[in-house]
């Protein structure tokens, strides 16, 4: 199920049968064109290779009594192969390779239905047969390019007819928590009042800043950190010469890395095998939720 939310970039949200919403990035023309050209190249290479083999066969055929028959068969097979590859190459690969052709696999894109489900054989074949129409030249560009510019999922006409789209499926590196060994950062982290609990948006801002600060010069870091760190410094009653950049790092360190008193969010681990989870339920081992620090915080502030 695609959720009805206004979309403002190329990422779209899919809701799975497990009732989880996750995001895909839709593949644009600059990813799909190279994939198509790669497929064209592969097709041509395979065809030339097989053509050579058949030529060799038919040369051998001339020498034998069955010459005419073998030559005719080789010629016929080459033609049928050329026909099948020019019309059904994409459709068959997308059916049996789970929505990918070799070119699409290299460019890391995949065909899915607009609802994020896998496509079926009919859709795969139809969207590739209709490519002929998308390749029709218009005044300035191809028809398919124009069609894909006019909708928000970059669907060409073949995609619109089958209800499919192409999404990017990139392997991403795992972003670990930034661990700083700087003693100043750890000292500043200790100076943050124990009762201070950063809000959700503050947490997010901290993570984004610390993960990217390596790319900035020292002066620029100060400039960016100032807006957030200056009010925080005043609130924590820290001296005026505190390094604001490192203050944010300290807060990040306290939020993400070191101990803080807070109740565990997930009581049962989602990684338990079903049997274990049942056992846990049977013994009533799930602890009652403890009062949250956030609530304590409110009480203290109110005093």
């Amino acid at each position: 199920m695609a959720r009805e939310v206004p979309q403002f970039d190329t990422s779209i949200e899919i809701v799975t049968p497990e009732n989880i919403a996750f995001r895909y990035r839709v593949a644009g023309p600059f990813r799909r064109l190279p994939a198509y050209l790669l497929d064209l190249l592969i097709r041509l290479g395979v065809f030339v290779g097989i053509f050579m083999i058949f030529m060799l066969l038919s040369c051998l055929g001339v020498l034998t009594p069955l010459g005419n028959f073998v030559t005719s068969l080789a010629y016929g097979a080459t033609l049928v192969l050329w026909f099948a590859m020019s019309w059904f190459y994409g459709g068959l690969f997308e059916t049996y390779w789970n929505g990918q052709t070799p070119g699409k696999r290299i460019m890391q894109v995949r065909v899915l239905t607009v609802t994020g489900q896998p496509i079926d054989g009919m859709q795969a074949v139809l969207r590739n047969v209709l490519r002929v129409v998308d390749m029709q030249p218009l005044v300035l560009c191809q028809l398919g390019l124009l069609a894909s510019m006019l909708n928000d999922r970059f669907q060409r006409l073949g995609d619109l007819a089958c209800g499919t789209m192409v999404v990017v499926e990139e392997k991403q590196w795992f972003h670990d928590v930034v661990r700083s060994g700087d003693p100043e950062v750890i000292r500043l982290a200790g100076l943050v009042p124990a009762a201070f609990l950063p809000s959700r948006s503050l947490t997010r801002a901290l993570a984004m800043y610390v993960q990217r600060r390596g790319a900035f010069s020292v002066g620029r870091r100060f400039e960016i950190a100032r807006h957030l760190a200056e009010p925080l410094r005043r609130r924590f009653d820290l001296p005026a010469d505190t390094n604001l950049d490192l203050l944010l790092c300290g807060l990040y360190h306290r939020t993400f890395v070191t101990e803080r008193q807070e109740q565990p969010i997930a009581t049962g681990s989602p990684f338990l095998e079903p049997a274990e989870a049942m056992a846990q339920l049977d013994h009533g081992a799930v602890p009652p939720p403890a009062p949250t620090v956030a609530m304590n915080n409110v009480v203290e502030d109110g005093r």
């Binding site: 030559t71 033609l79 896998p118 496509i119 079926d120 074949v125 139809l126 006409l157 499926e169």
Partner: protein
């Protein structure tokens, strides 16, 4: 729980899921034992749960991004492409397609246009000699006259010829179908131009006494299947194009998708006919068989088509 601690506990699971995704993407998927598959789905559900709780865990945005792509990748391996449903093919081709075509207005339209233009062009080429030259061009016409100036009996190279006709004619049929998508206009254009060219060639050949017998000796046997297949593919294409115009209350995209689901089996039937026509055209038409045999094949194939469209297609009460 701290984020760093949480990550320590989850990291191995995520990287295991990532590794299993790699296995599932490759060809070793078929050899993977059942235990691996259940492990994969357990890990996938766990990653889903982590993603759902990412906000509550207050994970950094980079990590959330990583989880999104991990879950997406695993989702695509768990829910895989359905291949062709071969069990219902005969049901679709022999029951549903003829039933649908019997009541299909675009088939009637394509039929009328194709045969109307065909007969008109034939008549004009027969009565006025320059017409065929204007429609077909003199190069093509000279080639045609040369081909049929002698007997076409040439039994060798049957498979090569059949293959050529499969490629050439089915290609035309598929183009006819695809261009129907342009509001039916592209399909109309393809149908009319094909009909005019074929009609002109027929009329022109019928006018030349020396060529007439050779020509009809060649075209009779495969004619019914081939011409019907062209009409059928044009009709399937128009079905797509007209669905964009007359939406029956659906949105245009939804109407197009509905029509596409119906047009594809029709196109399969058309391709089957092209295949049969090509086999006849490659092996029987150029053979030395007597004209009576070729005419009999034409009558039988026309009979099969009538059976398919009228008897199988006649509306039934029981559906």
């Amino acid at each position: 729980m701290k984020v760093s601690e949480l990550l320590e506990s989850r990291r191995s699971n995520w990287s295991e899921l990532e590794r299993l995704c790699g296995t599932m993407e490759g060809s070793s998927r078929r050899k993977a034992p059942a235990r691996t598959l259940t492990r994969f789905s357990t890990l996938y559900r766990a990653a889903c749960a982590d993603l759902a709780l990412a906000d509550a865990y207050q994970l950094p945005p980079g990590m959330v991004h990583y989880l999104h792509q991990l879950v997406g990748r695993a989702h695509n391996q768990l829910y895989r492409t359905r291949t062709f449903d071969t069990a219902t093919w005969h049901q679709e081709l022999l029951v549903k397609v003829p039933q649908r075509l019997y009541a299909d207005n675009s088939l009637r339209l394509a039929f009328c246009i194709f045969w109307g233009v065909f007969l008109l062009a034939m008549l004009m080429a027969y009565t006025s000699p320059p017409f065929a030259r204007q429609v077909l061009g003199s190069i093509f016409l000279e080639k045609l006259e040369e081909d049929f100036s002698k007997s076409v009996v040439n039994p060798g190279f049957g498979s090569a010829k059949a293959a050529f006709y499969i490629m050439h004619n089915t290609g035309i049929g598929l183009k006819c179908f695809a261009f129907g998508l342009l509001f039916g206009i592209g399909g109309l254009y393809m149908t009319i131009s094909n009909a005019a060219m074929l009609g002109a060639a027929f009329g022109h050949m019928a006018r030349l006494p020396g060529h007439r017998d050779h020509f009809f000796h060649f075209v009779t046997a495969h004619g019914p299947f081939e011409l019907t297949a062209i009409v059928l593919s044009a009709a399937a294409g128009m079905r797509l194009g007209f669905a964009l115009v007359e939406t029956k209350g659906y949105t245009r995209a939804a109407s197009l998708r509905r029509a596409a689901g119906q047009a594809m089996p029709t196109m399969c039937a058309a391709m089957l006919m092209f295949l049969l026509a090509a086999l006849i055209e490659g092996f029987l038409s150029p053979s030395a068989a007597p004209y009576e045999l070729k005419a009999a094949v034409a009558v039988v194939s026309a009979g099969i088509l009538m059976y398919y469209f009228v008897i199988l297609g006649y509306p039934r009460e029981s559906g």
